[in-house]
Every structure is written in structure tokens, then in C-alpha cells.
Symmetry: C2
Subunit: 378 residues, 2 copies
């Protein structure tokens, strides 16, 4: 055995292995442990933990308090087999003697704010567009100067397959906004936005478009892992919400329309966002009517107010082509969503209220992008 | 206490918290545990682990077999204080009852192949350029069609600050190659390439340049977390090494020079790589003399062979401006590096052999980029 290990280490070195790879190797993570294993009707989680006394798994589809005990089997491999949930992407983590642990066998990891979780994709019709298409667009992280916020800020910009080749073509733009705790990478990491757009466009179900995913936290230059000091902006400052929305319309849109082959017209601009980003969507369209012809707030309602009818009339008067609202039936944002739905009705504004099972979660926001994405710019 | 938790949950919801954030919250990760804490002369690691019987930390600066026990203190917080190593970026992970665990308090994470490790930056002169500069370039993941390899492949391309604005300026290009186990994200994740270039350029120490970081595994379309099926290419197939190098010179260079404002001349092309990528560097320059005027293999030697002198004479005859070799004094690649150094000497080829402490590790490759980066295109 020792000889085999030595031979393998030499083999690793000979193909240029790094010290870290040897580290992996030395701690005995062999290929024998497979986790997660997605079978037809079940999912098996496994973790090798020789000295642990309690190992459990917390799969997101069981809700955020679930914690399923695993049983210790041969070679100290703990295991549990669970019934397969509906096709979707789920997250999970293990708990080893009470401490949260990622699955060392699974390199599919997503970041939610400051937390890293493993992903498992249960394949089915619903998840077809979450996998990589054949023709893939470019995803870039770039920086714009926000004079209004006084900082240089990072954003993610997707351009569709062919953007580099078709140098005479101009494209419409979707401004796609994240929620609280998210950042400029939320939609490409948890939201699978690049995969969804790639697939929709490849299948001819969506118009080729640019997708701009800015950072919606006005004090933040970039996602936390970029480790750049943040500017303190009080959340209860009335300027908070509009500071970002103003920067979006007055700074980000001109930046995009200058640096990309974007069609600079309201008919070629869509805005969509989830939760806090849904609030940014309704605010931006109220404050700047006539800027976006396609309006898609998700998992986010609106508060009834004395000004609401006048604000919506402003949007109606300026004109729009699509007002599409998405919300999960168990979402705590459903009451506010109904307020918005009712307000649009009483103002005679055509719109769609799309509901789906589940609550305030990414499985719904991926589904919504995959759904309203087909309706934009048509 | 229960009331406070409830109030906080409501507060989280009201700013648009996701279920995952509540998950974080529910498992009691309060802000009270700080880890890692970098003090003047020590680093403290802490982990809350109520039910664990053994907790340790494996900091990379102690070598890849080190595993330092931590002591349980108040409130089940395990802790160890270690003397501060020299300024650099290091990685670490915990072991909780024998299982590898990332630090839940530290959102600085890097991916090495299929493994995620926490990072800790010990500040000093050496690490000044590893932090974010003020003026930052754009980093993009894009795809090129490799006809020779029969697959569509992902690469990372950095363009310097100002690239979007200075639409009349053309730029030189550094082709920066990763090692075994790496992929197209290795240099931007572990190598801090964007930060290093941003800083060097901002300080006027390096010429503004484009940096192209392709995937050097010819069977791979993209890094493993992209989850795209790989094409099987036998590592002992003699076509293996050159398949990628051929694609680099015949396909990637034309792709870059078509899609970016790159200067299409050998005097504006540099090639550098570590370990396996150092092998690609020496191969590419031997197979395609006169393509790159700047040649920087790192942590990678060459084998003595009957053809070596003729091959190097080919490079000499075609002309070059810089041949810069970097290697750690404890690197297992040092003997091969000396073979290359000697061969260049006996062929009368001007070159630099730059050595530094340590072995086959990222702290050296960051240092080398930060060093030869100042010498390119001058």
C-alpha cells in the first residue's frame, strides 16, 4: 500500500501536481466514496468520517431546519438514502458532530453571500436549461465608476453566443437584479443565468440579449470575497433604495450602452429582480417611467400607498410591453405581490401574475427567468 | 432570547433575506467568532464546534502534512494561536473529528482543481500587489472553438483598466498557463493574476497588457465545476502535450487577435506558465520559434535530449527579448530547471534564472508573475 501511495505521488508530480493536490491525496480521499449519487428515485449522500460520532445532512428541499441523520457503514463511510425530490437544483451541507461541512466529493459549489454550499441537480424537464448549452456566451466581471455613490463598482455582464462574431448586430439588454444578501455574482452562481440564457437562445426560444447583473448593495464595490472595504450606508436612510436605482438608470445603463452594442431604446430594455431586486424593479420603473418596456418583479410585492395609483399611471402613460410578476405560493412576499396585482388591475394595466409551488427561493427565480426570458423583446 | 431571534429573523426578511441566510442564522453562527484573526506577530484560528472531540487546523505554511491541534475554550470555541508566517497568501482548512472543514467565518475561498480551501493574507510588502488596486481591469470567461481538439473550450481573458475607454489603443498579450490539476480559473483564483496586473499597471511598473489564461487540459472544455463532460485524451499519448500547444498557437492566438485589440506581433506576445504550463511554454517556443519574444517558464525544467541544442538554436535564430526562468530552491523541478539553465548557457542564449525560497507552490508563482510582469514588452 505504501508503495502504491508513493508511486501515485510520483505520478502526480510527473504530471505537475501542486502541493495542494498531494494534500488531497494524502488525506485519503479516494474515488471510492461517491457523493451525492442521484439514482432514479433516490439520492444517496455519503461522507467518510472515521472519528465522528454524529453525521447528518441538510438538503435544501427538506426545508431550512431539516437535518437528516446518516448511518455509519463500512470503512467509516456515513450514508443516507433519501427519496428523490422533484427535478431542480438543490443545495446541501453535512453536519459532522455539529459543525457544517461541505461535501469533499462534490466540486459543485455555489456561494450565497458569505456561505458556500454544495449543489445537486436532479435532472428532468424543468432543469434542462440549467445545464450547459452547446453554444455559450461570454461572462465578464467589470467595473464602473459610480459618481453618485462615490465608488468604483463591479458588475457581471453576459453577452450571448455570437456577440464577438456578429460585430454589426446590436442587442437588447436585460437588467437582472439580485436580492438581499446577494451580489453581482448571485445570478450567475445560484441563478444559472448564463446557462438559462444560453439554452433559451440556442433553442430559439429567446432573443439573443445582453444580461447585466450589477451589485445592488449601494455601499458595496464588489462581492465580499473580493475583499474590498465597504462604504457604510444606513439601511434606514430614506436615500438607500433610490441611491442604487438612480445609479442603475443614470450610470449603469449609459455605461452599458456605451461599452456594448446595446440598442439604446426602452423597447430594448428589460428589468427584472427578485426580493430586494424586485423592489429595485418596481422603484426603477416608477421613478423612471418609459425607460424599460419589460418589467418583471419576482417574489416582491409593493406597499399600498396614497401615491401608488399615480405612480402606476405614470408607467401606463409612458407605455410598456410586458409586466410579468412571479411569486411562489408559499412565499412570504405573496401578500405584497397580491397588492401589486390588484393595483395593476384597478389601474387597467395589462400584466401576468405567474405563481409556482414553493417559497422565497432560487428554484423559483431560475424557473421565472426561464419563463419570462422567452417573452422579452418580442 | 427567543424574542430577539424572532425579531432578527423578521428584520432579515424585511431586507429581503433568502432562506439560506436564515439557515445561516438558525445555526447560531453569530459574529462573535472571528477567524482567522491576523495579529502583528500571530494568527489565531477559531471554530465553534460544540460536539466535536478533536479539532485541528492545517495551515499551508507548515507544509502539507501539518495538522495543529486546537484547544476548546469558552462557548465551545476551539482556538489555536500560531506565530505569523512571512507575508504571503496561505490556505488552510480545519479538521473536525477527522473530517476536512472550511472555516465558516471566512468567505475568502480559493479553488484548487476540485478542492476548496480558505485563504489568509498576511500583509507585507510582498503581498501589496495581491490586494485590489484602485483601477481594475475586466475579467471574462469566454469560449473558443477548437477545431483541432474537436471541442468548444473556455478561457479567462483579462483586459487592463481603460481597455473599454481607449478604443484606439492596441495592447500586447501575455499567455499565462496553469499547471497540472489547474484550469482556466487557476491564475485568477489562486494566482491573483488580475490583482497583480492591476497593481503593476496602476503603479506604472508594467505596460498595460491583455492576459489570456486558457485551459491547458486538452480533453477539457472547462473547469470541472462547469460540469461539462470531458473528452478522453490519454496522458501517455505522444500527441497529448502538443495537442494543446498547437491549439494555443494555431487557434487561441488568432482568436484573441481577432476579438481583442491585440498587437499581432511576436514583440507583443509573451508566454509564461508554471509546472505543466512551463512545459507548454518550452514546447510552444520550441515548436513555434519567433512567435513569442518573451518566454517565462516557472517551476519546470526540461529534459536533456539529442535535439535540445538544435531546438534552442531555433529560438535563438528566430530572436527573443526575454527568457526568464523562475524556480523555488526546494522545488522538485529544480534539477530540470538547471538542465534548461545550462542548455541556454551552452547555446549562448541570454536569460535570467530567478530563484526564491520554497518549493512547487503558488506563493512562488504569484511572486514570479509580480516580478517578470515588470519586464514584459519593454
Amino acid at each position: 500500500m505504501k508503495k502504491l501511495i508513493l508511486a501515485s505521488i510520483i505520478a502526480l508530480f510527473s504530471i505537475g501536481a501542486t502541493a495542494q493536490e498531494l494534500n488531497n491525496f494524502s488525506f485519503g480521499r479516494g474515488p471510492q466514496v461517491v457523493s451525492p449519487e442521484v439514482l432514479g428515485d433516490s439520492v444517496v449522500f455519503r461522507l467518510k468520517a472515521e472519528y465522528a460520532t454524529q453525521v447528518s445532512v441538510a438538503p435544501s428541499w427538506l426545508g431550512w431546519t431539516a437535518n437528516v441523520p446518516m448511518q455509519r457503514g463500512k470503512d467509516y463511510v456515513w450514508e443516507v438514502k433519501l427519496p428523490c425530490p422533484e427535478p431542480e437544483i438543490y443545495t446541501y451541507n453535512f453536519f459532522v458532530d455539529g459543525v457544517s461541512v461541505n461535501d469533499p466529493q462534490n466540486y459543485l459549489v455555489q456561494r450565497d453571500g458569505v456561505r458556500y454550499l454544495n449543489m445537486v441537480l436532479i435532472p428532468g424537464e424543468r432543469t434542462e436549461n440549467y445545464k450547459n448549452a452547446t453554444k455559450r456566451g461570454t461572462v465578464r466581471q467589470m467595473w464602473y465608476d459610480s459618481e453618485s455613490l462615490g465608488i468604483n463598482r463591479r458588475m457581471t455582464v453576459y453577452t450571448p453566443y455570437g456577440y464577438e462574431k456578429n460585430t454589426k448586430q446590436k442587442y437588447p439588454v436585460l437588467y437582472l437584479l439580485h436580492g438581499g444578501g446577494g451580489d453581482e455574482e448571485a445570478w450567475t452562481s445560484m441563478g444559472r443565468a448564463a446557462q438559462i440564457l444560453d439554452n433559451l437562445i440556442e433553442k430559439g426560444q429567446a432573443v439573443p440579449m445582453i444580461v447585466v447583473m450589477p451589485n445592488g448593495n449601494p455601499g458595496q464595490q464588489a462581492a465580499k470575497p473580493m475583499d474590498i472595504e465597504e462604504k457604510t450606508i444606513a439601511y434606514n436612510d430614506p436615500a438607500f433604495a433610490n441611491a442604487y436605482v438612480n445609479s442603475l438608470v443614470k450610470e449603469i445603463i449609459p455605461f452599458i450602452e456605451k461599452n456594448f452594442r446595446a440598442i439604446p431604446k426602452s423597447s430594448a430594455r428589460a428589468i427584472a429582480g427578485l426580493s430586494m431586486g424586485g423592489g429595485h424593479t418596481t422603484s426603477a420603473t416608477i421613478l423612471y417611467p418609459g425607460t424599460f418596456d419589460y418589467i418583471c418583479p419576482m417574489s416582491c410585492g409593493i406597499r399600498e400607498s396614497a401615491e401608488l395609483d399615480a405612480q402606476l399611471q405614470g408607467i401606463k402613460k409612458a407605455g410598456y410591453k410586458l409586466y410579468w410578476i412571479g411569486c411562489g405560493v408559499d412565499d412570504f412576499a405573496m401578500p405584497g405581490t397580491k397588492v401589486l396585482d390588484e393595483a395593476l388591475k384597478r389601474n387597467g394595466m395589462e400584466h401576468t401574475l405567474y405563481t409556482s409551488g414553493g417559497g422565497h427561493e432560487w428554484k423559483n427565480w431560475r424557473l421565472y427567468l426561464n419563463t419570462f426570458g422567452k417573452l422579452l423583446f418580442k
